[in-house]
């Protein structure tokens, strides 16, 4: 649904995006992840047709972004980083204007506005002036304008920036509810957002693609060891040594109140570990798997400079 090939964008001497290729399947939510100034906004502006690329190819909903710009613009909903609102309009008036310029036929305009207002939870502020509604509502209105023409693809640039924690949760729920019907790409530098919302991720740094793929594929590809964290009633060096003698365990270490056990990626030692704890009466309270978190993945990819 969204595809780029060797995308490059230069601002004069500065190369903001270098040789970027990735692909997002239909109906999924993908995150565009990277530190500040990584080229996320530039990439999104190219996809939406706001900026042309210096070289390379990009297609959205089957249309070439550069050659069939008008077709692409009909199929795309875009929430830029600064929500593009006209303060002097009412919420309803604003949505009606956006519907008009997004070529929603006149007969369907009213129902399109109703639908967008309903999905984004704006009914209570519908008649109010945009300048008088709160930050959270403005962000929702930004989302409402992005989906008013029921586009196949929605591009969201930092949709939760500047919101309070409760609003962040609401906006994420809202985005998740759009999965399936729409293909969504959102940029963020909040890692938790990716794990909670996205199916896949494109990680870029300094304009270069660092990794791209479905979350589980990426985390398993970058994981070297499997293992568990254990919480025991009794945890001291003696216990650690007991674990180290266990066959198949490559490492045991104390991490805070927990013990971290590691073993080879292709085996599963969990059952044995539990049995061992019960036999030795170590007082097993908790056990969780050592899955690679997105934070670890991100740090490994971005700071380590590892390329897939």
């Amino acid at each position: 649904m969204i595809e780029t090939e060797h995308l490059q964008k230069k601002y004069g001497e500065l190369e903001a995006v270098k040789d970027l290729s990735f692909k997002v399947d239909s109906g999924q939510i993908w995150g565009l992840l990277g530190p500040n100034a990584a080229g996320k906004t530039t990439t999104m502006r190219i996809l939406t047709g706001f900026l042309p690329a210096t070289s390379g190819r990009a297609s959205v909903a089957g249309y070439n972004v550069f050659e069939q710009a008008e077709e692409v613009k009909k199929e795309i909903g875009y929430l830029p980083e600064t929500v593009p609102l006209y303060p002097e309009m009412t919420v309803e008036g604003y949505l009606s204007f956006v519907a008009e310029i997004k070529r929603v036929p006149k007969a369907k305009r009213k129902s399109a506005i109703d639908r967008a207002v309903e999905i984004t939870g704006l009914p209570s502020v519908r008649k109010r002036l945009v300048k008088n509604i709160s930050r959270g509502y403005r962000q929702r209105l930004g989302l409402a304008q992005a989906l008013i023409h029921n586009p196949k693809v929605i591009i969201l640039d930092e949709p939760t920036i500047g919101l309070d924690p409760a609003q962040i949760v609401e906006i994420r729920q809202l985005i998740k509810s759009l999965r399936g019907e729409h293909t969504i790409m959102l940029s963020t530098h909040i890692l938790a957002e990716v794990t909670q919302v996205c199916d896949g991720v494109v990680i870029i740094n300094e304009g270069k693609l660092m990794a791209a793929g479905r979350l589980e594929e990426l985390t398993s590809a970058y994981r070297e060891k499997d293992g568990v964290y254990l919480k025991l009633k009794k945890a001291d060096n003696e216990v650690l040594n007991l674990f180290r003698q266990l066959p198949g365990i490559d490492g045991a270490a104390q991490e805070g109140e927990e013990i971290r056990l590691e073993w080879d990626r292709n085996t599963d030692r969990r059952e044995e570990v539990i049995k061992f704890c019960l036999d030795k009466q170590l007082g097993l309270l908790e056990m969780r798997s050592l899955a690679l978190t997105i934070e670890e993945l991100y740090l490994r990819i971005v700071s380590g400079g590892v390329e897939q």
Binding site: T48, F50, P52, K73, Y78, P80, T82, P84, Y86, I101
Partner: protein, 255 residues
């Protein structure tokens, strides 16, 4: 066409949702009313004095004595006021970030520029029509010639259209409305007085400078002389402004 209309509607309404349009129209009408009153009352007193002499009485013409200077005065007021109407057209969109919405919608740059320009022309039209109301009374109580009067207003409209064309160009350059207004004002004034130096140059340059000057073309229209060169001059000025705006917007996005 429908797409252009949505932009016209939005721009027109947003002029009236800020004080700008009200203040510009109000000030323009205040000044035009004052000029009209002072010229017509001056004309009256002159007429009474000249009424004794049948030869001079024949020469009295309200079109030349009151309307022509009236149009000249209004043209200066337009020069001062119209930069304030055009300054926000693109500058504001840029500052608010709403240009990303406009330029990622399935509208062409030409449609967006045309829509915005037409909306500003509409305000100009309102200003001119309202300013003509006092003059309408002279047609009820006297018998001025209609055609030169209408040509004068046509001249004002064309002049204003050219001003707004230059204004929209400067507003596409900067996100600061004041900068946009000042640059527009400077450009307009320069083109206004261009013919002043034509006395010190000769030959081709003299005719080029005279041709480019706003003043020269406006003068003949206020005298009731309609020449298609004047029409072409103003329309090409306006079109040139819009063309430059288009180039600026395209080039910024392609840079």
């Amino acid at each position: 066409m429908k797409a252009i209309w949505s932009i016209v509607k939005k721009e027109f309404l947003s002029y009236f949702s800020s004080p700008i349009a009200y203040i510009v129209i109000f000030t323009f009408l205040l000044l035009s009313g004052f000029f009209f009153y002072s010229l017509v009352s001056w004309f009256n007193s002159v007429t009474i004095q000249l009424a004794q002499n049948p030869y001079y009485y024949q020469q009295i013409n309200i079109n030349q004595m009151a309307f022509s200077p009236f149009f000249h005065n209004l043209s200066i007021v337009l020069l001062l006021m119209l930069p304030l109407l055009s300054m926000r057209l693109f500058s504001e969109e840029k500052k608010m970030g709403t240009e990303e919405l406009l330029f990622t919608s399935p509208l062409s740059v030409t449609q967006i520029i045309t829509g915005k320009y037409l909306a500003s022309l509409l305000i100009l039209l309102i200003m001119l029509v309202l300013s003509a109301i006092p003059a309408a009374f002279t047609f009820i109580y006297g018998n001025p010639e209609l055609v030169p009067f209408l040509l004068g207003y046509l001249g004002l409209f064309l002049l204003g259209a050219a001003f707004l064309g230059i204004g929209i160009f400067w507003s596409s350059i900067t996100e600061n409305q004041i900068v946009s207004a000042v640059l527009t004002f400077g450009t307009l004034l320069l083109f206004w007085v261009l013919s002043w130096v034509s006395y010190s140059v000769h030959g081709l340059w003299q005719s080029v400078l005279n041709y480019l000057s706003f003043f020269e073309h406006f003068d003949s229209l206020t005298k009731g002389i309609f020449d298609t060169t004047d029409l072409v001059y103003y329309l090409s000025f306006a079109f040139f402004g819009l063309f430059l705006t288009h180039s600026v917007i395209q080039s910024r996005r392609w840079r």
